[in-house]
């Protein structure tokens, strides 16, 4: 039996505005509890909301990046429900006239482009946060209450957990590119709820949709979806069905677990927010935003191929995130050989970042210093291998390459006379290798070069060493 998986996502993204959606409190992450609050975001009696223009702008920006329709006239609505982290007993959100509708995110699936359609993107306020004490009490912090969010809802166009992951990666990269959010799932600035069910292709029988919440990483999303996909298929193949419910992903047990079921279907009693009035999104404003749009990943990739003459693969990798692309470009201002820059970034730097689970923004040296190192290698001041060692030091200490080379005495030995002495010593000490070489074993040279490098702690210029060894042996 063949099954088709249907996955839809509902993503909440915290916007990178300086102040909250309806008041001037700071949105800065990690402040002392309850220090970024005011009557408005605390829901004190008598307080009133005033909407943040930048938040609306960021929502429009996201809509433009994903090819959505932007509403000309829109409004906010009240979504009424009781929960301790919801200070007013209602959330100011958008109901029937979201700022953005339609649109799509393009991903690659099985090496082909695929459009994942969006239903809508709207703006709404975030709630406070709760933590649990050991005594089993709940402690509430309202710093996050009122922070602006956009909610992005997709059609169930994703047909595999991998596609869901690609979608999330593309979404994140794009939103970071247009500087609307930093999308850090670990900090909660990107939250994802997933909906999944499975269709038996021959009979058309569908399993009931399962909703999953509180997953805190893209990896978690994939694992949870894989688990559920399997569970739905198994149940259907046994002639059974899933129960429509909300589950959460248990990382430790590697399975999904039913969350406490909510009493009945929620009746949010939506009605237009009477403390706010209609918003107009004029064509002028949209055009202005479009004009000042930063370069999107696709454009940047093409430009890299053109401007820097890089192959498609390199360009794709280097434009993976805006920060990486910026790092490449800043370095390339000072280095002529763009391919060299690309190779070093794609090889040494990205490998290190992956091992340490770091981002390019976290490294301790800047593009200028990186460029300095590359130029030192190009000029022959340090050998290529030494250069890699220097890079390692730079990662660890953040020192400039010039300082590291000086401190550790790593300057490449280019003086032929100096090298000649050492070559002579090595040749004298290794008559067998010399004999081997003379007998046609060309590889013996490598051994001799290695010995010279060892004696010079890698500092001797390898080309010169090679040349001199050949000269001296031939002369013998």
């Amino acid at each position: 039996m063949k099954y088709k998986t249907l996955i839809g996502l509902e993503i909440h993204v915290e916007l990178m505005t300086k102040s909250k959606l309806f008041c001037g409190c700071s949105t800065e992450f990690g402040g002392e509890a309850n220090t970024h609050c005011c009557p408005v975001c605390l829901g004190l009696p008598g307080a009133l909301p005033v909407i943040n223009k930048k938040a609306v702008e960021y929502c429009i920006k996201a809509g433009l990046a994903f090819n959505c329709n932007i509403a000309k006239i829109t409004k906010m609505d009240r979504k009424n429900y009781f929960y301790p982290d919801l200070v007013k007993g209602y959330q100011i959100s958008q109901y029937d006239v979201p700022i953005c509708s339609g649109g799509y995110v393009e991903i690659e699936s099985e090496d082909k482009p695929k459009k994942i359609r969006l239903i809508r993107i709207h703006v709404e306020e975030d709630t406070g946060k709760s933590i649990h004490s050991e005594k089993g009490e709940t402690l509430m912090d309202f710093n996050r209450s009122g922070v602006p969010l956009i909610e992005i809802v997709t059609e169930p166009d994703m047909n595999s957990p991998e596609e869901a992951r690609s979608f999330l990666e593309k979404l994140k990269a794009t939103l970071r590119y247009i500087e609307v959010s930093d999308c850090k799932m670990e900090e909660g600035s990107l939250r994802c709820d997933v909906n999944i069910n499975v269709v038996e292709e021959s009979t058309g029988k569908k399993s009931k949709i399962i909703e999953m919440k509180n997953i805190n990483s893209f990896k978690g999303v994939v694992k949870a979806l894989e688990y559920e996909e399997k569970r739905h298929r198994e149940l259907l193949s046994q002639g059974k069905d899933t129960v429509r419910e909300t589950r959460r992903w248990d990382e430790i047990r590697n399975e999904t677990v039913v969350m406490r079921r909510k009493e009945g279907v929620s009746d949010y009693r939506y009605f237009p927010e009477p403390d706010l009035v209609k918003m107009e999104i004029k064509g002028e404003w949209i055009e202005n935003i479009r004009k000042n749009f930063p370069e999107l990943p696709q454009e940047k990739k093409e430009r890299f191929m053109q401007e820097y003459g890089l192959p498609e693969y390199d360009s794709e990798v280097l434009t993976g995130t805006k920060e990486l692309a910026d790092f490449f470009e800043k370095t390339s201002k000072y280095v002529d050989d763009y391919k060299q820059v690309s190779n070093w970034i794609m090889g040494d730097i990205l490998r290190r970042l992956k091992d340490e689970d770091m981002q390019i923004e976290d490294i301790r040296f800047n593009p200028m210093e990186f460029a300095e190192l590359l130029n030192m290698v190009n000029k022959g001041e340090v050998g290529n291998n030494i250069g890699k060692k220097v890079l390692k030091e730079m990662f660890e200490t953040g020192q400039s390459p010039k300082d590291i080379v000086r401190d550790k005495g790593l300057i490449q030995m280019n003086d032929e006379e100096e090298i000649k002495d050492i070559v002579n010593t090595v040749i004298t000490q290794n008559p067998q290798s010399v004999a081997d070489f003379k007998n046609g074993k060309n590889r013996a040279i490598g051994f001799l070069v290695g010995q010279v490098m060892k004696k010079t702690k890698g500092k001797a210029n390898p080309q010169i060493v090679n040349k001199l060894i050949l000269e001296i042996i031939k002369a013998k």
């Binding site: 300086k18 009781f82 709760s130």
Partner: protein, 94 residues
């Protein structure tokens, strides 16, 4: 006349409760009020647009500037229960 069950359901949505004594009297008065507002059904509103706002204003939006928050003491001033600078509650079921 609205039923006691419906009254109980609305009470639940409103996070209110009525004990057995109260619910009789409440249901009666509530029904009277409901009956009174039913009068609106007489009006022909086929072609009418709902008027949610009287002044037809277009929203003036705020610049994204940070304004000083109120001091933590003021935020927690009226907290019925607090600890370590947080509002305190009995455990909330997720």
């Amino acid at each position: 006349m609205i039923s006691k069950e419906e009254v109980k359901h609305i009470a639940e949505l409103s996070r209110l409760k009525f004990n057995e004594e109260e619910i009789e009297d409440f249901t009666r008065k509530f029904s009277e009020v409901l009956e009174y507002v039913e009068k609106l059904k007489e009006v022909d509103t086929e072609k009418a647009e709902p008027m949610y706002e009287v002044n037809s204003l277009i929203q003036l939006m705020r610049e994204d500037k940070v304004k000083e928050s109120i001091p933590k003491e003021d935020t927690l001033l009226n907290a019925p229960d607090k600890e370590f600078g947080y509002f305190k509650l009995p455990k909330v079921v997720e």
